[in-house]
């Protein structure tokens, strides 16, 4: 007799446990969460890339000073050396330029090795002198650069100035577009998850129609009934999202691990495995179940309340 007296926590008044998406819903939400994790990671990677390019290459200029005598003729105190010094002098005197550095020949050879092979040093190619320039925060606008280029080639005929900015603009645009696509995918995934939950909720409503009408007739408010469904939907969605996020974790770690060498500028394998996942993802992954729970709760509430409006 005392047995039924204690109402168990999470008492299932409407008998939803048996009719409302017990297996299918968490699995579908898990798939959505997995996709969301990938899309989110994509958005973050694209953002990182865009920043990287903008900060690095966006402010860079390359100045090439031809050496009429060829690389072999270059040596301390030669004409070429003074030409490069002159160019560097002009660059240093130009406002808006933060740093100039004449690349030593060995570094130049190193850079060219992938294209020219081991024999780069011995090949009798006339390599130009190269000065790497980093512009200050706001850089120089295009007309100033044009004037600078004219000034440089007057000082040392044949000198060219190459701004990386147009490339960076395109790459940045590409990165931003990728990012926008990733956000759109994330939004789409959320919308599909909401639709899946709405369909499951409607299925539960249809199967429990008589029960709901009876409970409504006994004086249950719309809020009471909607809350029963919303709690169940939120629980199932959180469960699904946890599964999906856990499934995405090894995939993301693997991808991050592959990307590590590019992010740390050639220091291959120096980053510890777990730290390779950007901190934003460590925050983003736990947010997935939370977001799924909110979507589940809100969608079920809306669906049930709209359905209940047919009752007096």
């Amino acid at each position: 007799m005392g047995k039924p007296s204690l109402r168990p926590r999470g008492f299932d008044d409407l008998g939803l446990r048996r009719v409302f998406g017990d297996r299918m819903l968490p699995l579908l939400v898990a798939a959505m969460a997995f996709l969301a994790a990938l899309a989110g990671a994509g958005a973050m990677a694209a953002a990182n890339l865009a920043d990287h390019w903008r900060e690095g290459a966006g402010s860079a200029l390359t100045v090439q000073v031809p050496r009429p005598g060829g690389a072999a003729a270059a040596g301390p105190g030669t004409v070429e050396e003074t030409r490069i010094d002159r160019i560097t002098g002009i660059l240093r005197g130009t406002p808006g330029i933060a740093e100039t550095r004449a690349l030593p020949e060995s570094e130049l050879n190193e850079l060219l090795r992938p294209w020219l092979g081991r024999d780069a040093e011995t090949a009798s190619l006339p390599l130009p002198g190269v000065v790497a320039v980093r512009m200050a925060e706001n850089g120089l606008d295009d007309s100033v650069l044009a004037r600078l280029a004219a000034q440089l080639s007057a000082a040392a005929p044949g000198t060219t100035l190459e701004a990386h900015r147009p490339w960076v603009r395109r790459l940045s645009l590409l990165a931003r577009s990728l990012q926008a696509c990733a956000w759109a995918a994330l939004g789409l995934v959320a919308a599909v998850a909401a639709a899946v939950i709405a369909v499951a909720t409607r299925g539960g409503l249809a199967l429990r129609r008589e029960v709901i009408e009876t409970v409504h007739g006994l004086g249950a408010t719309d809020g009471y009934i909607a809350c029963r469904f919303a709690r169940r939907a939120a629980g199932l969605a959180v469960l699904g999202a946890v599964i999906g996020a856990l499934a995405a974790l090894p995939v993301l770690l693997g991808l991050a691990n592959l990307a590590t060498p590019f992010q740390t500028n050639g220091a291959v394998g120096s980053a510890p495995w777990l730290a390779a996942l950007p901190p934003a993802l460590w925050i983003g992954l736990p947010v997935l179940p939370l977001a799924a729970g909110l979507i589940g709760f809100a969608t079920a509430q809306g669906t049930v309340r709209r359905w209940l409006r047919r009752l007096p």
């Binding site: 007799m1 047995k3 039924p4 007296s5 204690l6 109402r7 299932d12 008044d13 008998g15 048996r18 008589e210 029960v211 009876t214 409970v215 007739g217 006994l218 004086g219 249950a220 408010t221 719309d222 009471y224 007096p312």
Partner: protein, 222 residues
């Protein structure tokens, strides 16, 4: 308590099918008792649906527990429903809840403390003679037992207005007699009671004011 003035009801809204109830006017004061009589299809269940706020009138004025049902906002209805007990012709027990939980449901909806719910629901089930069936599922109960659970559920919340639709349909004569004593007892305690039935013998044994429906019209009240 209850007052109807030229009330009409169509299923499917104002433009729905034919008018099932037409020009119904009557009133029942607090603590009143009424039989609701009429052939099958006369509209007894429909009238009880109006009184239990399961349907709103498509025309006329319906006042239940002091509220003008045609005018009050939808959210005002649940608290009113909780003050009305209804024994449905087809019981409407929740199949996934035990007899005890079915009886406890309106008390839980009303937010009563769980301790009091246990006492009241158990007492109600004892009162209808089902003390040994508290843990039974509706599907395990006979028609008469289900009807008695439905009665216990309707009465458990001590409603101000009790509506019963053919409540003796599945009861034997002794049980029907017991039910009538139970209803009379509640009525004496102040509950307004309306009982729809076509059990003439029962009405003869318990004379009270009767309303007679015929083809959706009230043809007799008194």
């Amino acid at each position: 308590m209850v007052r109807l003035d030229e009330v009409g009801l169509r299923y499917g809204g104002t433009r729905g099918g034919p008018e099932i109830l037409r020009d119904i006017s009557f009133s029942i004061g607090p603590g009143g008792f009424r039989w609701l009589l009429g052939r099958s299809g006369a509209g007894k269940t429909s009238l009880l649906r109006l009184l239990s706020l399961a349907a709103r009138p498509t025309r006329g004025t319906l006042i239940v527990l002091g509220a003008d049902i045609g005018l009050v906002p939808r959210r005002a209805l649940p608290p009113l429903r909780r003050r009305i007990g209804m024994v449905f012709q087809d019981f409407r027990l929740l199949p996934h809840l035990t007899a005890f939980d079915n009886v406890a449901l309106p008390l839980r909806l009303a937010g009563r403390p769980e301790g009091q719910i246990t006492v009241d629901a158990t007492e109600m089930l004892r009162w209808v003679g089902l003390a040994d069936k508290t843990g039974a599922w509706p599907a395990e109960l006979s028609g008469g037992e289900q009807q008695r659970v439905a009665i216990a559920r309707a009465v458990a919340g001590r409603p101000s207005l009790l509506l019963a639709d053919e409540p003796t349909g599945n009861l034997d004569e002794g049980q029907a007699e017991r039910l009538m004593q139970l209803l009379a007892e509640l009525n004496r305690l102040g509950t307004t009671v309306v009982v729809a039935t076509h059990n003439d013998a029962l009405v003869e044994r318990h004379p009270a004011r009767a309303m007679v429906l015929e083809h959706g019209r009230l043809v007799e009240d008194g």
